[in-house]
């Protein structure tokens, strides 16, 4: 899903940086607060970050004949909310931009906005809406799958805004359909896989440390 280095014109690269950086800064502050509030949260933060590291490294083949990777932001957003997820995501995105030429420094703002902020934020909204009514594992599944899938929808829109197929809104929509056709279908099975993995990990964490997990997700 990462937009490649140099593949957003300078204007759009800048716009997404302006959007993403304040959220990352706030997330960094919040992460510090969470650790001060309860030092045990440090281990949960590490597990959440670990999940993003593993899942976003896996390029999985999908039904459409192309490969893509999950985002792994589900656990972080369920436990700590979207701001901290943005902070954890930018660490992974930096690793991939600097060492793997996957994503890039100029597109870091845009990629953080999709994978770290907007995708997880929508997942988190839905998690908040269903968490009282459904089992926490089911809610985690939904949140993680939605966060993953929306990330790719946002990427498609970001590319469409920068590369409209024609003038005005019609051009943007026509481009967006094109990019959505590439990303969103490939991503559906992966979003489901990601949701299941996140739910399994969440179930296991609760089994072991119900006290701190419940406090974090409350």
């Amino acid at each position: 899903m990462h937009i490649m280095e140099g593949f957003l014109p300078p204007l759009w690269a800048g716009v997404w940086y302006v959007f993403a950086l304040p959220v990352v800064a706030y997330g960094t502050y919040r992460a510090k607060k969470e650790i001060e509030k309860n030092p045990k949260n440090k281990s949960l933060l590490a597990v959440s970050a670990g999940f993003i590291f593993v899942l976003s490294a896996l390029k999985i083949p999908s039904v459409t004949g192309s490969c893509s990777h999950p985002t792994g932001t589900g656990i972080a957003v369920v436990m700590f909310g979207p701001a901290i997820t943005a902070f954890l995501s930018i660490i992974v995105l930096l690793y991939q931009a600097l060492l793997l030429a996957h994503g890039g420094l100029t597109t870091l703002g845009a990629n953080t906005a999709s994978m770290g902020i907007i995708g997880p934020f929508i997942g988190w909204l839905i998690y908040r809406a269903v968490s009282g009514r459904l089992d926490i594992k089911v809610s985690t599944f939904i949140a993680a799958a939605v966060a993953d899938w929306v990330t790719y929808v946002v990427t498609s829109i970001q590319l469409a805004l920068a590369f409209p197929a024609g003038p005005g809104m019609a051009g943007i929509i026509s481009s967006a359909t094109k990019f959505l056709a590439i990303f969103s279908i490939t991503q559906i099975p992966l979003a489901v896989v990601e949701g299941i993995l996140a739910a399994l990990l969440m179930g296991y964490l609760i089994q072991l440390r119900e006290d701190i997990v419940m406090e974090a997700t409350a």
């Binding site: 899903m1 014109p9 590490a46 593993v54 896996l58 039904v63 030429a101 490939t186």
Partner: protein
């Protein structure tokens, strides 16, 4: 880990492949990112990327190595803390 968890994981990784085999008419398994790059080329053929990566993995093998390193770091974090939780729970329960 309990057996049902392992079974779940196995299923999880098998299902996509079963789905795949049934639809193998597909082209090569390129990355979706590369396809998006092609689409950009179709929409604005005149667009030139204005910045290139500072460092690119010199070969596909090295790229795979760095990806697996990333996954390894993540698994290490998860495994370490889950192991610690489990140990602590065990100690509490005697």
């Amino acid at each position: 880990m309990r057996w049902d968890v392992i079974l779940n994981l196995l299923l999880l990784f098998c299902i996509p492949y079963i789905l795949l085999i049934s639809t193998v008419a597909a082209e090569e398994w390129a990355g979706a990112d590369a396809k998006a790059e092609e689409a950009i080329g179709e929409i604005s053929p005149q667009y030139e990327p204005w910045f290139s990566p500072l460092f690119e993995p010199p070969s596909g093998e090295i790229e795979s190595f760095l990806f697996s390193l990333q996954a390894a770091i993540g698994s290490l974090l998860i495994g370490y803390f889950i192991g610690r939780y489990r140990g602590a729970k065990h100690a509490r329960n005697g």
